[in-house]
């Protein structure tokens, strides 16, 4: 018991929590922006892989860290554009298109990595972002501060600007947006592209901040977990931050518990917990889930 308390009050623990939470914060925000506009983006997993690879590869080829960040966002936005074109103007199944984008994003990343580094048995490394201590706060890397700031920015845009109102309405009642003379197609494509750029950034966090190399399977379902977190957060940015931090706290806690209770239980049981937790969160929230009403419903002008 005392050991558990020791873990929970240590500064190192909470530093780790914010670090683990960062990709979830960014990915969940990105998915939230897409879904608020009425488009489910199952491409998130592949977009994160591509963001992780592109960001890392840019830096490895001699680009600066922030150039890598920009490249990852651009790569994410481009895959997002593909998803948006398939699902918004063409109105194709958002489920299947998303799976297709995920398959494309991850296979393109692995292909490119292998093409550039054919013989790399131990992954080459780069010099990643260093922690930047701010007075009165736990020392984090710049991308974590950026992630938290983006929560505020997304919340501000969604709830305090005409653009945000239009994006939220297009996910609830696209016909009303159309009646105001705004373009449903344009708003949805824009939201998916912007959200996907955030997902690319989420992936780049792993290779430019949390680790210093790109591994195969490094995203490992984080994208899918973000989709569960969006439901948990009831499609609200503030709650998304809370959800991601809670989730990361749980994850950091099980990592430390694994060290304390090491050997008594198979490590795979601990690794299963995040996935089980996500499913549990989905079941718990499902009764109260207030989906954007037009989520997954393609909009065709003049069609009811």
């Amino acid at each position: 018991m005392a050991e558990i308390l020791d873990i929970l009050v240590s500064a190192a623990f909470w530093t780790a929590v914010l670090r683990i939470a960062s990709p979830y914060i960014l990915g969940t925000l990105g998915e939230l922006v897409c879904e608020r506009a009425g488009v489910l983006n199952l491409g998130i997993e592949g977009i994160m892989v591509l963001g992780a690879m592109t960001g890392w590869m840019t830096v490895y080829q001699g680009g600066g860290l922030w150039v890598g960040v920009l490249a990852a966002c651009t790569a994410g936005a481009l895959l997002g554009l593909l998803h948006a074109l398939l699902t918004v103007p063409l109105g194709l199944s958002q489920h299947v298109a998303g799976i297709g984008v995920t398959l494309l994003g991850s296979s393109l990343s692995y292909f490119t990595y292998r093409l550039v580094l054919p013989q790399a048995s131990t992954p080459p490394t780069i010099e990643p972002f260093q922690p930047l201590p701010l007075p009165g706060l736990l020392a984090q890397t710049p991308l974590t501060y950026l992630a938290v700031a983006l929560v505020g920015l997304v919340a501000y845009v969604l709830y305090r600007t005409p653009l945000g109102l239009a994006v939220r309405t297009v996910g609830e009642n696209p016909a009303a947006v159309e009646a105001q003379g705004l373009s449903v197609t344009g708003l949805r494509i824009g939201a998916v592209v912007a959200g996907s750029a955030l997902m690319g950034l989420a992936g780049a966090f792993l290779t430019l901040s949390a680790f210093n190399a790109f591994f195969f399977n490094m995203i490992n379902g984080r994208g899918w977990i973000c989709i569960a977190l969006v439901v948990f957060a009831s499609w609200r940015p503030g709650k998304a931050l809370l959800g991601a931090v809670l989730f990361a706290a749980f994850d950091a806690f099980q990592l430390r518990l694994q060290q304390v209770a090491g050997g008594a239980l198979p490590y795979q049981l601990f690794l299963m917990l995040p996935y089980l937790l996500s499913i549990a969160a989905l079941v718990l929230m499902s009764r109260r889930a207030a989906y954007p009403r037009a989520l997954m419903i393609p909009y065709r002008k003049g069609e009811r």
Partner: protein, 349 residues
């Protein structure tokens, strides 16, 4: 410009659509091949030769197609009823797991009894794995896409735990692999000195059976009705919940059988690399086939040829064999657009 639904899709168009999609995907991949510095015609020729160029290559392709037919059918059956089962990968491993447990010498039965038992139990395990998400969907409205995806990771960790624990082969030199199944639980080989096994016949038989059920029975009619419009099906007095759960059992069962057949027909034991993503490729197979059971067979052979051919190509050129995964992903995306063009026509104004 706008889209106008065709009242009837001519058969020629529904055959042309996948052909066109594949051609478009091959063209797009040619850019990547050229980027790798290889000659595009030579690379594609090597690929075709590696997949279809000899008797051995053909049997390798058909061996690879066997699990893809089954996971393709699993996706087709589920998608028909709008049950988004993305968890075939996990269901496949559960089927394989049960197959090595039951076929590993637990029962000393003659082959004609043991083999069906092992295969049916494997299918049951796959079906049970999908039943959970399906119940959560119909009971609580939990989106099955995310739950089935997350279950894939849980199942793989569960299998990994058993392979390093209770099921670890003491003769396995420390590798995380199970003990092999006994001879009575092995599927017979179809062609001498190749890896082609009777699982292919099983998969082909099931594709034919599903086509029959789909077009000639009440079950198939109900499935399609629920997929087309669940509320209308409900009004027509169909037990929508029961049909959903039944579909989940069949879909998960087919994926579980894919795992059981891989273990009893090909590998003999279970490792964590039993499936190079057969569950996910099955989705592509089903979409290329436009969810048609017989089309699934053709699409599965094509995807298998891509994977087998790409391995051969990457041995002879500088093109990484991940080109196969890119080609498969692009085929899926192109197929979606091609399917749209087959179902609708473009109209001005």
């Amino acid at each position: 410009m706008r889209l106008e639904a065709r009242p009837h899709v001519p058969l020629a168009l529904s055959l042309l659509a996948p052909a066109g999609a594949v051609a478009a995907a091959l063209l797009l991949c040619a850019l990547l091949v050229a980027w790798s510095g290889a000659s595009v015609p030579r690379a594609y020729a090597l690929m075709a030769e590696g997949a279809l160029g000899s008797r051995f290559a053909l049997t390798e392709t058909l061996t690879r197609a066997t699990p893809l037919i089954l996971t393709g059918l699993a996706a087709a059956v589920a998608f028909r009823a709008k049950l988004w089962n993305i968890g075939a990968e996990g269901q496949l491993y559960m089927g394989a797991l049960v197959a090595v447990v039951l076929g590993g010498g637990l029962f000393d039965l003659p082959s004609w009894l043991l083999l069906p038992l092992v295969l049916i139990a494997g299918a049951a395990a796959g079906g049970a794995t999908l039943l959970g998400p399906a119940v959560l969907k119909v009971r609580f409205g939990v989106d099955e896409v995310v739950t089935t995806l997350l279950l894939n990771f849980i199942v793989l960790l569960f299998v990994s735990m058993l392979l390093e624990g209770a099921l670890k082969d003491p003769m396995g030199m420390g590798w995380p692999q199970s003990a092999p199944v006994i001879e009575a639980a092995e599927l017979p080989k179809l062609v001498e000195r190749t890896r082609l096994h009777a699982g292919l016949l099983l998969a082909l038989g099931l594709a034919a059976l599903l086509w029959f059920v789909d077009t000639r029975t009440v079950w198939g009619y109900e499935n399609r009705a629920v997929g087309a419009n669940p509320r209308a099906a409900q009004f027509a007095g169909m037990p929508v919940t029961r049909i959903m759960l039944r579909t989940a059992l069949v879909s998960g069962g087919l994926a579980g059988l894919a795992g059981a057949a891989e273990v009893t027909g090909l590998k003999g034991y279970l490792t964590l690399d039993l499936s190079p993503g057969f569950g996910y490729s099955g989705i592509v197979v089903a979409m290329l086939a436009q969810l048609h059971p017989i089309g699934v067979v053709g699409a599965a052979v094509f995807i298998a040829a891509v994977f087998v051919g790409a391995d051969a190509m990457s041995r002879a050129t500088a093109v990484p064999n991940y080109i196969a995964d890119v080609l498969v992903a692009l085929s899926l995306l192109c197929m979606m657009v091609a399917g749209l063009l087959a179902r609708y026509r473009l109209r001005r104004g």
